[in-house]
């Protein structure tokens, strides 16, 4: 299950584009572009989602002085049915493209595939990442945006964001992908779509355990283990699971969650942020900067995804979840 990358593919650059509400994020200084319009001046939410993606890719091209023809592969996904926003953005970019769906774990699964292609020698430059747009996700998975239903304290807020990275051959002084664990699909019978953190925590636990075991590491080997969008309550549950499994109290502070921190302590967002764009934006924006500034040397990024659809929920199915991990090092 654990893939070790001998060639250590580097993360050469990143591009993060977010919506207007994400200006309230504690990570906002790490975003490349904050749009003033949630639809990015398009006439539908889904079209806006596609612009998020193409803008993020364009930022990567500009930063690295590349043209779209230099890119070998685009790998990514979003949460809209059939992933049309990513498909349509790929049409604009006009490079070889595979759409990937691991729900909110796509931010990591796409980097894993890009690293594999790089390791194989099939790719010099691959763009990988994920995105989500609040309104398009809400209308599909939950209720209309303006519907006045009361959400419980466990509910999370899908972010409008796209986070993409440029993966290429190893280069010194840049963060690189050292190893990865593709997660199993774990289902502990959770059925509440307003408590995703509770549904996804066992998947994160399983993937982290598997990664540490196969790599013969402990939590102490990492500066941070950052999950994707468990949210405030999901993160608490994950930490409690590790505490019960015998992890010392001082090591538990190494667990962080992108969704739990995304909007800070703002109670309007209940248990925090979620969505494929949440972990993608934090990983590619904030986390890559932490490596470059020398704050972190080794980090485990564990993006979590709930693999449900509105239909499966209405038919009474429980929520299967997954988590994919990449171990990022520096130097």
């Amino acid at each position: 299950m654990v893939i070790v990358f001998q060639s250590k593919p580097s993360i050469l650059s990143s591009g993060v584009v977010v919506g207007p509400l994400e200006k309230r994020s504690v990570f906002q200084t790490y975003f490349d572009k904050i749009s003033t319009d949630e639809r990015l001046q398009k006439d539908s939410n889904e079209k806006g989602n596609a612009v998020l993606i193409s803008d993020a890719c364009q930022i990567i091209l500009n930063k690295s002085n590349l043209k779209n023809l230099d890119i070998d592969y685009l790998l990514g996904g979003d949460l809209v049915n059939q992933m049309t926003p990513t498909n349509f953005a790929a049409r604009e970019l006009a490079v070889s493209f595979i759409g990937l769906f691991s729900a909110c774990a796509t931010s990591v699964s796409s980097i894993v595939i890009a690293s594999l292609l790089t390791e194989l020698g099939a790719s010099d430059f691959s763009i990988a990442g994920a995105s989500s747009q609040h309104n398009s996700v809400e209308r599909q998975f939950r209720y209309p945006v303006d519907y006045g239903g009361q959400k419980p304290a466990t509910a999370q807020w899908t972010v409008t964001a796209a986070g993409f990275v440029l993966v290429g051959k190893h280069q010194p002084k840049l963060p690189y992908v050292e190893a990865a664990t593709i997660g199993k699909v774990i289902d502990y019978g959770a059925t509440d779509p307003f408590h995703m953190g509770g549904a996804m925590a066992p998947a994160a636990f399983d993937t982290i355990q598997a990664h540490l075991k196969k790599r013969s590491q402990t939590i102490k080997d990492y500066d941070v283990i950052m999950t994707g969008d468990l949210g405030k309550i999901g993160l608490k549950i994950l930490i409690a699971m590790f505490a019960q499994s015998g992890v010392k109290k001082e090591d538990l502070s190494r667990f962080r969650d992108a969704g739990a921190e995304f909007y800070g302590e703002d109670t309007a967002f209940l248990a925090g942020a979620s969505g494929a764009g949440c972990s993608a934006a934090v990983y590619s924006g904030y986390m890559m900067e932490q490596f470059k500034s020398g704050r972190y040397k080794r980090v485990l990024l564990v993006a979590t995804g709930a693999l449900l659809s509105p239909l499966s929920f209405q038919q009474g199915e429980s929520i299967p979840c997954t988590a994919h991990a990449i171990e990022i090092g520096m130097g």
Binding site: V145, Y147, G149, Q150, A190, P202, I233, I237, A240
Partner: protein, 151 residues
Amino acid sequence: MKEQQYNTLKDQITPKSPIAINCLKAFAVGGVICCVGQAISFFYMMFFDFTEKTVGNPTVATMVFIAMLLTGFGQYRKLGQFAGAGSAVPVTGFGNAVVSSAIEGKTEGLVLGVGSNMFKLAGSVILFGVVSAFFVTLIKLILVSVGVAAW
């Protein structure tokens, strides 16, 4: 960790819904909405030619209209998050369900979007409302015919 064990742990950490406070909020906001409705029906009876029996329709229409405006300006969902059932149960909640679905469908056009989505949430309210009204009337009809009750 076993599934059973995990679910116990999850339930311990997950905060419980503050039922008492939610009930109070729902009572207060629902009460205010009903008072506004009452004021509107008094207004129609005082200034127009409506009686207590006929004032229902224009009052409901006005309340739904207000809910429509609040929904369009993005305020009803904020009220809904605070009040819960207090703003969902009155007819304004029905208006909100209809209008929010209609707004959402706008990008797919008038027929396939607005038209076919408008009653996506409220459709079941209409269906089960009509069905239960039918049965209630049927029961009353039987009671009246056997002489137990009067219209």
